[in-house]
């Protein structure tokens, strides 16, 4: 559409809107006291003086939504918020828009509605129906740091709303927030505010319930490391119609039910390949005392044989069973779908269970939403026993579940033929044995030569969940991919690693184990000083160690989350040059608590030094005191590993050369050769003095 046409359209829509009396004095944008505000919020890019939301909902008839916001800008980055974008669905009407800019010197510039940009699009919804959407964009003129904007708009949504979720917190701190929610008394409803204890005023006005929420001084929403989801810290609210026939939370099952039970997308087609038992397998199971359990276990084996697990996928990308089997790999939910389909065909009772991984996001079990479910698994009844089976966990044996799911609550979906809403849900506790704590074990076999060059053979083993993830990553590796991974592993140990070679890479699903072996050299690992070689006792790669910066952060606002338990163990065996001796103190140390625990040891074994360390962290939500204690544990752990060895080399028969006087090097010699200057014998405590 041409710009001219857009302008004409805009002029038609907003005819008669040149004057406005929207600004009723709820907020004094001009006299907000910029200096005191920027002192009060020194880390903020801007501040919202007032945000007001009003929702007036009559389900089945209309919903009127009004938004009003006034903000001041502190930094140039904040100016990007001077563009307001409003999305309108097919049945939505923008019935009011007014805005103004406040310049740094205190002048108001009213927004010219002719400047609104309107764009039309057509999209296709989940059911494949085409719909028109309109985007209205308002770019505010004359934005300046120290200035501000104020705007309000009202949208009429034809037909009303059945529910919605909104986050109050935003990129700027909010001085005052007001929410008015009016909902018809003719329909039951649920309304909750999360992460805030401010009182919610409720009253009845005619045929409407009226809720008012007032909040003050809300901090800006900020990302922090080791904090999985904003729902765990930001203020947000959720509203939903409760139509008496089902629990309000069960509406959360509407879309998963259509997808997984109604099979709207025809994922379980009757035709095409599917996972099934052979006649021999069926026969063999019949002869056991628990035939259904036997068939379930055989199908699980078949699933692992035919569908390799891949990394996480999205619900809306779920493929049909036939496509999954053809591609021979699938995400967690896809593997569950294949298993669900096979179990149904075998006549074994199976139901979908939707769950949320522990510590992944906030969940209100009385008022769930489909957005909160981030895991799907199966409840299988075999031989009068109930099993929770996660087809996505390839290394789980029957009765085992990933540790992030064990004892969590899950919504079990059942089919209800009688009602319009065809899915019913019930909370169940996911009982099972947790998979072992995932572990990363490194073993380094290091040969140090008399020039200080270390030749390293490194073996890394992942187990449990870590192994499954690793297997999915490396499955398609070709020679180049293996080389790339080898190089990245070696660089994790030393940035000076050269001649990196990939020796071996293999993964098994049961037991879950991924092993990688590489070799590399580290020139300059040890420094030669006459008859001595000075080298660190080890150079472990510590890429799975938590960051002390996050643990020790004085300014952190929210709690810190370790979403999974993990262990790492490393063994560094350093072989000295032939005839060399080293004088070291054998030591062993351990510390920490149940949240984070370490041990380290240094031992001498003939011509080798053996350094070993272990670090175990436990999944959990940690407050300031706990994370500070963990930071101290990590400092102690690192100090324990800070050893420098002085290796005495056997005396040489004849000196090789006289040390060079100059330290300049030419750019044409071999890159890996140890520069001659490194071998010079620097006299103690005098070198370098002017």
């Amino acid at each position: 559409m041409t710009r001219l046409a857009l302008l004409l359209w805009t002029a038609t829509v907003f005819a008669g809107c040149a004057t406005t009396s929207q600004w009723d004095g709820n907020v004094d944008l001009r006299n907000a006291g910029l200096e005191s505000l920027s002192k009060r919020f020194p880390d903020a890019h801007g501040v919202v003086l007032l945000r007001e939301d009003r929702y007036e909902n009559r389900p089945g008839q209309s919903m009127q939504q009004t938004h009003h916001e006034a903000l001041r800008f502190f930094t140039e980055r904040s100016l990007s918020y001077g563009r307001v974008v409003i999305h309108l669905d097919e049945n939505d009407k923008l019935v009011n828009f007014a805005a103004r800019t406040l310049t740094r010197d205190g002048r108001y510039i009213p927004y010219d509605l002719d400047q609104l940009i309107v764009q039309h699009s057509t999209t296709v919804d989940n059911d494949g129906d085409s719909k028109n959407i309109t985007t209205v964009i308002a770019k505010f003129p004359r934005l300046q740091t120290g200035g501000g904007i104020e705007y309000t708009y009202t949208i009429d949504h034809d037909g009303g709303w059945w529910g919605f979720t909104r986050t109050v917190s935003g990129p700027f701190p909010i001085l005052r927030y007001k929410l008015d929610l009016l909902t018809s008394t003719k329909r039951g409803h649920l309304f909750r505010v999360y992460n805030n204890d401010a009182p919610l005023q409720a009253s009845r006005e005619g045929f409407m319930h009226h809720y008012t929420l007032r909040l003050k001084d809300l901090p800006a929403s900020e990302d922090e490391s080791y904090s999985p989801d904003t729902s765990l810290r930001d203020v947000w609210f959720r509203y939903r119609i409760n139509d008496q026939k089902t629990q309000a939370w069960a509406n959360a099952l509407w879309w998963p039910g259509k997808l997984l039970i109604d099979d709207k997308r025809n994922l379980r087609s009757l035709f095409g390949p599917r996972l099934k038992l052979s006649d021999g397998e069926t026969q063999a199971c019949r002869q056991t005392s628990m035939p259904e359990t036997c068939r379930l276990q055989t199908l699980l084996k078949g699933l692992n044989a035919h569908v390799a697990p891949t990394t996480a996928g999205r619900w809306w990308k779920l493929r049909p069973v036939a496509a999954i089997l053809k591609s021979k790999r699938g995400t967690g939910i896809e593997r569950n779908l294949v298993l669900y389909d096979a179990l149904r065909k075998e006549g074994i009772a199976v139901k979908w269970v939707l769950a949320t991984r522990r510590l992944s996001q906030a969940v209100d079990y009385d008022f769930a939403s489909s957005d909160w479910f981030n895991y799907a698994l199966l409840e299988v009844k075999a031989d009068q026993q109930t099993h929770y089976v996660d087809g996505g966990c390839a290394h789980c044996s029957l009765g085992e579940l990933p540790h992030a799911l064990v004892n969590q609550r899950g919504a079990r979906m059942t089919e209800r033929v009688a009602t319009q809403f065809r899915v019913a849900g019930k909370w169940v506790k996911l009982r099972g044995k947790a998979t072992p704590v995932p572990q990363m074990r490194d073993t380094y076999d290091v040969v140090l030569d008399e020039h200080g060059v270390a030749t390293v053979e490194m073996k890394r083993i992942y187990t449990s969940d870590l192994a499954q993830r690793r297997a999915a990553k490396v499955r398609d590796d070709d020679a180049d991919g293996r080389k790339r991974r080898a190089r990245s592993m070696a660089r994790g140990v030393s940035s000076d690693a050269v001649d990196v070679k990939s020796l071996h890479q293999a993964c098994t699903l049961r037991p879950a184990r991924c092993e990688t072996r590489i070799s590399f050299r580290v020139p300059g690992y040890g420094e030669r000083h006459g008859d001595e070689l000075v080298a660190p006792a080890h150079e472990f790669a510590e890429h799975r160690t938590p960051s002390t910066g996050a643990l020790d952060d004085d300014d952190r606002v929210g709690d810190l989350f370790f979403t999974r338990s993990e262990a790492q163990q490393q063994l560094w065996r350093l072989h000295l040059p032939a005839g060399a001796t080293v004088d070291v103190d054998v030591k062993s140390k351990s510390g920490g608590d149940d949240n984070l625990r370490y041990s380290c040891s240094l031992d001498k074994d003939h011509d080798a030094i053996e350094v070993q360390n272990r670090l175990l962290r436990r999944a959990g939500r940690y407050g300031t005191a706990e994370r500070k204690a963990m930071a101290q544990t990590l400092y102690d752990y690192r100090a324990c590993l800070r050893d420098l060895l002085t290796v005495k080399l056997p005396p040489k028969k004849a000196p090789a050369h006289t040390p060079a006087a100059s330290s300049s090097t030419s750019s044409t010699s071999s890159p890996n050769a140890v520069p001659a200057v490194w071998a010079d014998d620097a006299p103690e405590a005098t070198t370098g003095r002017p």
Binding site: T12, S121, P141, K326, R642, S667, T687
Partner: protein
């Protein structure tokens, strides 16, 4: 409260829908033209390692007359095989088009699965989306709602008619950065009497490529066609630190040079930069389109220019230009709204002044008006803002060469290139993305193509000096002095950060000496605000105490414990075919004063110095007195590109530097002080 016209929106949508239905009527059975003429069978699929194999990719352009003006009918056909899951995920079935300049858009997709099942999607079934990212424009996308499965062969046909074929060039990039391409071609057909100029480029240089020529008959009459074809193009191999795909893949562009109107009158478009320069200048002044003459100087513009110049007390031509430049930099917010011709033509200078926002060409044109008000001549200029590898000028057509606009100020002392889009680059300097680039000033008479200069290590300088103690849990302090690119980058960061976060900016500057600025202490900054003329930015403050257990015995620090900065290594296994980008020339000096009170030096590492064609470097650790060891590094980057055949030697030089950075100083505690503080 004023109420808006409630009925307007649904009425409008209804009207739009009716138009849309008419346009898309008859699209239910799409025809695949050339793809149907060249059927394929699954056993013809090649053995390939690529995730996606493009079996055919052809663009055919027919230039013709429509309503008395030249238009281009463009047909793209593509047949792609998703060899595996990664390939299926990579294939996006999207047809982009321009909502203003493209008509008769049609998009058809046919997907054939491994088992031979066919799915066909036509335009009527596709979402048609307006796309707005950081730029608000008429860019639109047709999206085929089809999920590609591994093994699928996808056939696509996109048809559109591009208006203004006498202004825009038509082009095709041959090959693909991540897919193998078996057959690809670009065919341009012109009616008899029309001529085109064609340019093939790769690796920033024109290449010899003789097309096959044929005479054909199209629906509009006899045409002459030129076809460029390539077969068996492998996906690009990744080479770290090298230029992007647009440098590596061959590209053929064609522009119309002669066309004949209905009355038989021939119109000639001279394919020279000078002609393009004059055309762009004319476009800016054209009063007949929706943007009007954007160079008109109003009373308000004159008043503003006078006010800014007199407030600053600028007397000389250069000073006046500098203060007006700084004024535009800070008073016009960057915001790109490019509707209609807005991709190439700015808003009028008076509108930019009124609204206070604009994109690169809006800012350049507004500054040109302010300068003119003060009697200083200048010209807006097109340039390609690059990421280290300047892109050379191709055909002199709109939308073929430039992604950015700057200004050349014609001072009596000589021309000065300036980029008012930057927020903190001073007058007389250019941002590094504009250095060494082809630039075309828009002027009447036409200007020849020029090149911006490359600024040297005397311009881009940083000096970081820090003081701290051996033990952790102790504070230190620092001073940073920045010029050129270092200063502008830091100033922009300061402008974009609240004052309480300035320590984060300082921490980034301190990355060279491996320490963080203390977030609880104030950072003092001199010349924090951008200045019209170059000044040194100076920051000083406290270093954050490095936490941890105190050292209890001997300790060894490497050079790299103090000096973190190095050079890109380009550590690829295979033979290097691409240059390595060093981004800009510079001089970096990092000095750490290590307070060793209570400790003694057991050994110092030897100094290291190296002079190569690309950089000079010096590393030195010296004991200044009983209490201090000074660690110093000076690096001067002398070339902004390391050519492919030099990379091996360069790599060796960098490895030596890295090895030297691994050398250690050994310290022992003196008996008098005992344990840790």
């Amino acid at each position: 409260m004023v109420q808006l016209h409630k009925r307007a929106l649904p009425v409008r949508i209804g009207w739009m829908w009716a138009v849309f239905s008419v346009v898309t009527a008859g699209c239910a059975t799409p025809h695949f033209g050339r793809l149907d003429d060249t059927p394929w069978t699954r056993d013809q699929l090649p053995k390939s390692k690529a995730n996606v194999v493009v079996l055919d990719e052809h663009r055919e352009v027919h230039l013709r007359l429509h309503n008395g003006r030249p238009v281009a009918d463009v047909v793209d056909v593509r047949r792609t095989w998703a060899r595996n899951q990664a390939g299926a995920d990579d294939i996006g079935l999207v047809a982009p088009y321009d909502g203003t300049f493209d008509d008769n858009i049609d998009y058809a997709v046919r997907v054939t699965s491994k088992s031979g099942d066919e799915r066909v999607v036509s335009r009527g079934d596709m979402p048609d989306l307006a796309y707005n990212g950081s730029v608000i424009s008429d860019a639109r996308y047709l999206v085929a709602p089809v999920k590609v499965q591994p093994g699928d062969v996808v056939e696509e046909v996109v048809r559109k008619t591009s208006r203004k074929a006498d202004v825009f060039a038509q082009s095709l990039v041959f090959g693909n950065s991540s897919a193998e391409v078996l057959r690809t071609s670009f065919k341009v057909c012109t009616p008899k009497g029309w001529t085109i100029k064609v340019l093939a480029m790769q690796h920033n240089a024109p290449m010899e490529w003789t097309p096959s020529t044929s005479s054909e008959t199209s629906s509009t009459g006899p045409v002459v066609c030129q076809t460029f074809a390539r077969n068996d193009m492998k996906p690009l191999r990744s080479e770290r630190g090298g230029p992007g795909w647009h440098f590596r893949l061959p590209r053929v562009s064609a522009m119309l040079t002669t066309w004949v109107d209905k009355r038989g009158k021939a119109h000639t478009i001279d394919p020279t930069p000078e002609r393009m320069s004059a055309s762009m200048a004319k476009l800016y002044r054209d009063p007949n389109d929706e943007y009007g003459d954007v160079t008109v100087l109003t009373r308000q513009l004159k008043y503003r220019a006078r006010k800014v110049v007199s407030a600053a007390g600028a007397k000389t031509q250069r000073d006046k230009a500098a203060v007006l430049y700084a004024y535009v930099q800070q008073s016009v917010e960057y915001c790109a709204i490019e509707l209609g011709m807005g991709g190439w033509k700015p808003y009028a200078a008076k509108d930019v002044q009124e609204k206070g926002y604009g994109d690169c060409k809006d800012k350049a044109n507004y500054l040109a008006a302010l300068l003119r008000a003060e009697g200083i001549r200048s010209s807006s200029a097109g340039i390609y803002s690059h990421d280290g590898m300047p892109r050379r000028f191709g055909l002199p057509a709109v939308a073929a060469n430039f992604n950015h606009a700057i200004l050349v100020v014609h001072l009596d002392e000589g021309d000065v290139f300036i980029d008012p889009t930057t927020r903190s680059v001073p007058f007389g300097q250019l941002p590094i993305n504009d250095e060494g680039a082809d630039v075309l000033p828009f002027s009447t008479p036409g200007s020849p193509l020029q090149q911006t200069k490359v600024q040297g290590p005397d311009v881009h300088r940083s000096k970081t000096e820090a003081w701290w103690k051996v033990q952790p849990n102790t504070k230190g302090h620092f001073v940073v002095e920045l010029d050129g690119h270092f200063a502008s980058r830091a100033r922009t960061s300061l402008l974009y950060s609240p004052k309480a976060s300035w320590h984060q900016v300082a921490t980034r500057m301190l990355s060279g000496v491996s320490r963080d600025c203390d977030e609880h202490a104030e950072v003092a900054v001199e010349n924090a605000d951008p200045t019209p003329l170059p000044t040194t930015l100076r920051m000083q403050g406290a270093l954050k105490p490095r936490r941890g257990r105190p050292h209890e015995d001997g300790v060894a620090f490497r050079y790299s414990s103090f000096l973190n900065r190095s050079l890109p290594l380009a550590d690829d296994d295979k033979e290097r075919t691409l240059p390595l980008l060093m981004h800009h020339l510079r001089r970096e000096e990092d000095i750490v004063h290590l307070d060793i009170d209570g400790w003694r030096v057991r050994r110092l590492p030897p100094p290291f110095s190296s002079s190569t064609p690309w950089f000079d470097v010096e590393l030195k650790m010296t004991q200044v007195n009983d209490d201090e060891v000074e660690v110093r590094r000076v690096l001067t980057v002398k070339k902004n590109v390391v050519q492919a055949d030099e990379v091996e030697a360069y790599r060796n030089a960098v490895r030596k530097l890295r090895l030297a950075l691994g050398r250690r100083v050994h310290l022992r505690q003196t008996s008098t002080t005992g344990g840790a503080p």
